[in-house]
């Protein structure tokens, strides 16, 4: 039987114990001490659970990577620059290789985004990864509640790739979509650019319709979106599936020329109404009242 310290040893090389510009006291003490910065701290927490958030047969390195990526996505949605993370890992695996592979996934993503793992906890039980992400605000804070009627609505990428990736994985089919599902890329460069120009922003984790609904709810507005303008992978269900971790944001029309068509997809506009209208072939195909939680 492997012990807690065997598992913690797998993480040791990722947790800087020496003092540096950010971490004053690191691994090996009761808590980590982080040098306070002039910029405001942004924090979010995401739980990723087996069965619910990833399939039972997921690879440990993919579980690790994906759990951190989906948490980082919340920082991008706020216009924050990621800085450090902590990981609370619950796992019932008894093979130390599983933990080593898990830490490989952690290492891969912290290297990719140039962030630090500063602490965590491990315990035995059904696989459950609680990831805490921390970042700082360089430019403006992006919130959900500031969309105004007349603002344009944009998304940053194609929807439905994550959904197709999960289908391919479940059918033992190798495809680039599988990578989209397990290793979504969080676009902090676009997030930073948007932060200067957007009136509201959210990450598309629960599906465009629900997440745009959250912007509308928070901003007390409606929206009209055009099916033909939305880049999708398969069909209309890509609009409500989620797992893409692209950004959906609104911006005053005055900034329209700031958004090139290759990186930012203009899909509609904010209305003074209380509904989200989806237009397809010039016909209104869906009209949902706000209060979106009840629809999912």
């Amino acid at each position: 039987m492997i012990s807690e310290s065997d598992i913690l040893n797998c993480f040791q090389h990722l947790v800087e114990s020496k003092k540096d510009s950010l971490v004053l006291v690191g691994s090996g003490d009761d808590a980590v001490v982080i040098k306070s910065q002039k910029n405001n701290l942004v924090h979010s927490l995401d739980i990723s659970k087996i069965h619910t958030h990833f399939p039972d047969n997921s690879l440990p390195e993919d579980i690790a990577y994906r759990s951190v990526a989906v948490a980082l996505s919340d920082l991008a949605a706020m216009g924050a620059k990621p800085s450090f993370i902590t990981v609370g890992l619950t796992s019932n695996k008894k093979d130390i290789n599983w933990y080593e592979q898990f830490t490989t996934g952690i290492e891969s993503i912290i290297n990719e985004y140039q962030i630090k793992l500063v602490g965590g906890d491990v315990t035995f039980g059904e696989i459950n990864v609680c990831v805490n992400v921390f970042g700082y605000i360089d430019e403006n804070i992006l919130i959900r509640s500031n969309a105004k009627p007349g603002d344009n609505i944009y998304i940053t990428g194609q929807l439905g790739r994550g959904r197709q990736g999960l289908i391919d994985w479940n059918n033992d089919k190798k495809s680039s979509f599988v990578q989209n599902y397990f290793r979504p890329k969080i676009n902090f460069k676009k997030s930073k650019y948007i932060s200067r120009l957007a009136s509201s922003c959210i990450d598309i984790s629960d599906g465009l319709i629900k997440d745009l609904g959250s912007i509308c709810n928070s901003s007390k507005v409606g929206a009209k979106i055009f099916y033909e303008d939305i880049p999708i992978t398969n069909d209309i269900d890509d609009l409500s599936y989620g797992d893409d971790y692209e950004l959906c944001f609104t911006s005053p029309k005055i900034y329209k020329e700031k958004f090139n068509e290759e990186d930012f997809f203009l899909i509609g506009e904010i209305t003074p109404g209380k509904n989200i209208e989806l237009i397809k072939d010039n016909i209104l195909v869906s009209l949902k009242k706000n209060g979106w939680d009840s629809f999912d």
Copy 2:
């Protein structure tokens, strides 16, 4: 079936959404934005899991209270003042009352310590509470690695009450010890006082012997402690059981008169050796080599 938003609604009154001196953007967005302070930020994370960290028949309000308390204990061990928390709750309960009672426990402890709940996440599964605590350093940072030979060793309270509380709970016996187990008090007043005078500090979560062992390992020293000087509840096993969340700290002899006997129990001294010696009736009863992880 209750929905995620039903559960989140239970927490809503505890999460301040309006801006204040600490929280710039609160509940309802992707992440919380915390005003950066001049003092350094201290952060710790603790997972509390059913079966492992509390009994299956624990009350939801006790699970909530205890999960936060044991996480706060890490801040006290660092000499930090608690400021805010986030809670990642996994639960398989389908009765909304369970979540309401859980939030009652959260409310009780955040009011007691005058801290804020600033965010969190909920998901469905085996009960697992991932608590993130954040605080700021007012005085000195208390670390584990600075104990010196000749320093006195103190603890802040009686050991074994938590252990007896769990026994009483399992035997359906009402006693004040049950309260000690489910609602341990974290003494930030003593922690602050100690922070000016201590050379090292740890909270006694895993048992005095193991936790003092961590100080010795980190500081590369040994220790000699006297059984008759250690306030216990039952027997010698109270030294290795844990669940008390008192502090164990070391301090140079020069400060001895600063520690009154009612609040601080002098139990021994740091030695230049590599072992922890436990003396009982003037006889050496236990001599453990460092490398404590292998003993528990």
